[in-house]
Amino acid sequence: MPEMTLVQALRDALAVEMARDDRVVVFGEDVGRRGGVFTVTEGLQERFGEERVYDTPLDENGILGMAAGMALMGLRPVAEIQFVDFLWPGFDVVISDIAKERFRSGGQYGVPLVIRSPYGGGVKGGLYHSQSPEAIFAHIPGLKVVIPATPSEAKGLLISAIRDEDPVVFLEPKKIYFGIKEEVPEGEYTIPLGQARVVQEGSDVTIVSYGALLHEVLRANETLKQEGISAEILDLRTILPFDGPTLLESVAKTGRIVIVVEAPRILSVASELAAFVAERAVDYLDGPIVRVTGWDTPFPYALEPHYLPNVRRIVHGVRRALGLVP
């Protein structure tokens, strides 16, 4: 199997699906000639032509409206929003049309499309190149939300997202676009949506995370191992519909849970998972549910190193879940 970065794996997924299905069309700002500002679509216009891979005017409302209309007519658009922080001029299309098309038409219509967009911090991008708005999308019934944490996941999940009958917001952790390489299966490779991955089995505590922070959790795990703490680590992968059964099974085993996300804490995905566990598994819990998250502030520039959850904060969260610190 070839080694790939996350960006290469995404590009591979797009190429595989475009070759297989001529309903798949890719567009957005700078995705054509430039191959995307993060090079995800590099080479695709040469290979598939300007009708299937093209640049749009600088207008997210236009991009998302175009995607919605094309999907309505049976195409499989994959629209790129250059940074998810810039999606909002087109949010009306997402929340009012894309999310509700199937329901409001009594199933007559559906919009099987993918909105691909880099998200998250760790790149010194300040307020508007760093945000993690996955909870905002997950709060809208009708949308699926997916976040890969490794190159293989990026490929397998993106292909599944393109094939899915429902609209998928596919958020890509830009911090690890180039930093991680691994072997990625060739050709058609899918990972079902809605399934978490058990990254490591353990018995003392469940740690759930996703995206770039999963790798911070793995680093924190080195410290935990030295302290003799056995962590079960879950990579959520699909934010909605999230994998409730796997989560409950794990908490039933460990009795403790720490949820690690980089978005602000209030009404975050961590909040939903915490509430879910509290409602369904309170009898299994031997300690407090702990959330380790970004602070409830806009994403700062100069103070970014203090904003993102790091090994120290994750380890502290685990110790709290285990009752080792107050």
Binding site: G125, Y301, L303, Y307
Partner: protein
């Protein structure tokens, strides 16, 4: 620089198919009008205009150096737009308001922002009036009547429109100018700003740098309109197409529409034809989408060279003055960078302040938590 004494300027022609200009590509006056008469600019003001353009270029060059040295995280350039940016700012009055876009900051010394403040923003230190909250290229300063921009393209236009409404409401004799690239005209915000400005007759100038690319996307793929200026027609007011490498033409048009907007609340759209000489930003590779020769050809036509040749033609400038100016600015910039850096990074608590006017309890708690982690971290490094 003082505004010229005499009141009303001759009216530039709106909606031309060719850009308005006084200076040809060699920097020599063309046509039968003397630009000094039309603009009302004195010899001393012409020299000041050029000096401000050179300072903007040099601030910009230092911005790139700071990125290469790893002292700044990111940079986005003004190069190729100094003439239009500086001249349009100089055409305003102190009571006017400026909505910058990310290429404007190296010219904001024209509004009185100090070099220390400008570099404080680039370096994210306490010398930044906005306390290092945003990435470089996002300078704002209330005392200079400069709004603080966000990164979303065109967002400033629609907010500037609201500010113009407030000026009209409170009967202030002032305008708002909102800057953006030609890409910004594709966004819904641009349309809303233009539409409301026309409907409410607002003292708003939307100033568009048509630098011919929005990152990699060429102007022709941005809009099917022949010019951007002509979009104003559909909103019920005038658009002006001006050569952005001719600072005199830009000054004239901007000053004219600003005076008119202050007296009878007429909005205007200005399209300045320019060229972005640098990559889009320090994160871009422009050779992926445009040939080197195209960039080189535009370097021959840009505003700095043109303005310098015009001043030399008038006998107001020479090599000796040029050298002295560079030496003066080199020193000033070096000192400013040092001072800006010495101001130091913002305090950790600054992350939690000014999310709200009064910090709520949970943010106070989070601030204490963050402080504890930071101290532990320091302790473990000791």
């Amino acid at each position: 620089m003082q505004a010229p004494e005499h009141g009303t300027l001759t009216r530039p022609t709106p909606f031309t198919r060719e850009p308005l200009r006084f200076l040809n590509e060699e920097g020599l006056p063309e046509g039968d009008r003397d630009p000094r008469e039309v603009t009302g600019l004195s010899d001393a003001q012409l020299v000041d205009l050029y000096r401000a353009m050179v300072l903007s270029r040099k601030v910009d060059q230092m911005g790139w150096i700071l990125v290469r040295q790893g002292r700044a995280g990111f940079y986005i350039s003004i190069q190729g737009q100094e003439g239009a940016q500086v001249a349009s700012l100089l055409a305003l009055e102190p009571q006017d308001w400026v909505m910058p876009y990310y290429r404007t900051p190296p010219a904001l010394h024209v509004r009185g922002a100090t070099l220390v403040e400008l570099f404080g923003q680039i370096l994210g230190t306490n010398a930044d009036p906005s306390k290092g909250r945003q990435m470089p290229a996002h300078f704002g300063s209330r005392k200079h009547r400069i709004f603080v921009l966000g990164s979303p393209v065109a967002l400033g236009h629609v907010v500037a429109m609201g500010a113009a409404k407030a000026l009209k409401y409170s009967r202030e004799n002032a305008v708002v100018i909102s800057y953006g690239g030609e890409g910004s005209t594709s966004e819904p915000h641009f349309h809303s700003a233009m539409n409301f400005a026309g409907v409410y007759r607002l003292p708003l100038i939307v100033f568009i740098f048509n630098n011919q690319y929005a990152i990699s996307v060429p102007r022709a793929q941005q809009t099917a309109s022949e010019t951007l200026a002509e979009k104003a027609r559909a909103y019920g007011f005038e658009g002006y197409y001006v050569d952005g490498s001719d600072p005199l033409a830009v000054y004239w048009v901007t000053r004219f529409v600003a005076e008119r907007a202050r007296t009878n609340h007429t909005p205007a759209l200005i399209e300045a034809l320019t060229y972005r000489l640098d990559p889009h930003s320090s994160a871009d590779d422009d050779l992926k989408y445009r040939p080197r020769e195209e960039v080189e050809a535009w370097k021959q036509r840009e505003s700095l060279a043109r303005m310098r040749r015009y001043l030399e033609h008038l006998g107001l400038w020479n090599e000796e003055k040029e050298q002295a100016l560079h030496a003066e600015y080199d020193r000033a910039i070096e000192e400013a960078v040092e001072q800006a850096e010495q101001a130091g990074p913002p305090d950790l608590e600054e992350m939690f302040h000014e999310v709200y006017h009064t910090t709520p309890w949970y943010l106070q708690e989070e601030a204490r938590e963050a402080r504890r982690f930071a101290e532990e971290q320091e302790g473990s490094h000791a």
